[in-house]
Symmetry: C2
Subunit: 277 residues, 2 copies
């Protein structure tokens, strides 16, 4: 079974892939891709059986490039979810001290998540941007000025590229990433499920979203996530991503989705899957 993930080796996505393999054992070959586009298209075209991608972070919110593709570009369903605590590490070559650091490199989202630590302990450093935390670690290990540069990345990447940990868990405390496994089919009912949908409301009348949410509120269905994303059509035009407890084949959920379909301008069921523990 081939599982696509965002590489190169040492990324947080690779760690998620390994965690998934522990939770649901089975022979999995992890296949690295360079971008989320490449991963999702590979899964859509059957070049990998499944793809594991982050969909939501407690600091950053929705990973827009993934959700946008699920809406418009691919026909994939969510069949599993994993919630993984995120720890970022400040990494430098051996012999370099915290007080030597004048420059830090990582991806924008991670620098943002570690802002409080940087402001407090290294307020005068210059921040540099990389395409992945793994590439940031690699650059600090190989090409960048070795006495002064640190990367923020994973423990795995530090081991892979021979950097040492200058400071551990430098990110905001409550930092979790929710990964989903995507495949051609979602998961059968387990009795302890979640369902994800995306919809758009017809515009230009008051109360549209209120009415849409009424389909769930009137049935006391618990929504665990409500996020909006711009539709990219015009300002003020949104897609709404909603997660709820229950399986799409449950009577109440099925009735609510039927109600919503009747009034929404667009509705796509992204899948039902067992709740993460």
């Amino acid at each position: 079974m081939k599982l696509g993930y965002l590489g190169p080796e040492g990324t947080f996505s690779e760690e998620a892939g390994k965690t998934y393999d522990k939770i649901i054992p089975g022979k999995k070959e992890l296949v690295a891709f360079a971008t989320f586009h490449d991963i999702l298209f590979a899964a859509d075209k059957g070049k990998v059986n499944e793809a594991i991608v982050p969909i939501e972070n407690s600091i950053e919110g929705t990973i827009g490039v993934v959700t946008d593709m699920l809406v418009k570009n691919v026909d994939l369903k969510i069949c599993q979810e994993l919630v993984i605590p995120v720890y970022h590490y400040l990494l430098a070559p051996k012999g370099v001290k915290l007080s030597d650091i004048t420059d830090i490199i990582s991806i924008p989202q991670v620098l943002d998540q570690c802002r409080d630590y940087i402001y407090k302990h290294l307020p005068h450093v210059t921040l540099h941007l990389a395409h992945s935390t793994s590439s940031a670690v690699q650059q600090v290990a190989t090409s960048l000025d070795k006495g002064h540069f640190a990367a923020i990345g994973t423990k795995t990447a530090a081991e892979l590229y021979g950097l040492k940990i200058l400071a551990g868990k430098v990110n905001a405390k409550e930092n979790k990433t929710r990964f989903v496994v995507l495949a051609k089919r979602d998961h059968a009912r387990t009795g302890h499920d979640k369902t994800s949908i995306v919809f758009a409301i017809k515009r230009d009348r008051p109360g549209g979203l209120h009415d849409a949410l009424g389909a769930f509120a009137s049935r006391k269905i618990n929504l665990t996530k409500i996020e909006s994303r711009p539709s990219k059509k015009s300002l003020g035009d949104y897609y709404f991503f909603i997660d709820m407890y229950g399986h799409r084949t449950d009577k109440l959920i099925a009735a609510a989705l039927k109600d919503l379909k009747a009034q929404a301008g667009f509705l796509k069921i992204l899948g039902s899957y067992p709740r993460a523990k």
Copy 2:
């Protein structure tokens, strides 16, 4: 009157500042800051009288760093809004042809907005990240390999740093940015106003957001924006940003806000201001 904006010279924020000066004439001294944090803190502490910042883009959605600061870090009100069409340009030194380009540099958001153009016309280029479009343009003009690098940035920056336009309007078609002007006080009622609020709902019961929106739906108040942002406390915990037609001193709006305050865990009125034309 001092107006803070995100510099350096040649940024899109500077263009917005100049547009604001045309719409509402008055002696304004534009003061450049390096980050949104610096701008908003300067306005909060009275070092500038007003600040102009982007708050929402039709492709990217909410500018999280700005909205997060409005919720938690500063006591500023929205007193004006401007909606400005965004045009990005592919820029290179004179003599360089489109077919010479192997590398493009810009900020992540702009590269994302121009993805379709890049995939179609320059599918094999390597993408590089800068901290501002202006700095990307400057780097292409001064330090990067001149035969092969192009920057994506504004027309103003091209003129400032002596680059020529290789391709115009390379971004997605419907691309608009909404800027807001922040000050210590919002705007008096004009009869043609908008009001912005942010609230959080009490958790762990079905229908919370539905009930909150009921305060507006029952009064037929038209919501022009509904966006969620993670509260950064835990997964599934959100702030909701809502814009509506009307002034906070209008009878119906005042009643709806009173209703909402009674049921929301948190409510902050970000200000009332004239609608952009």
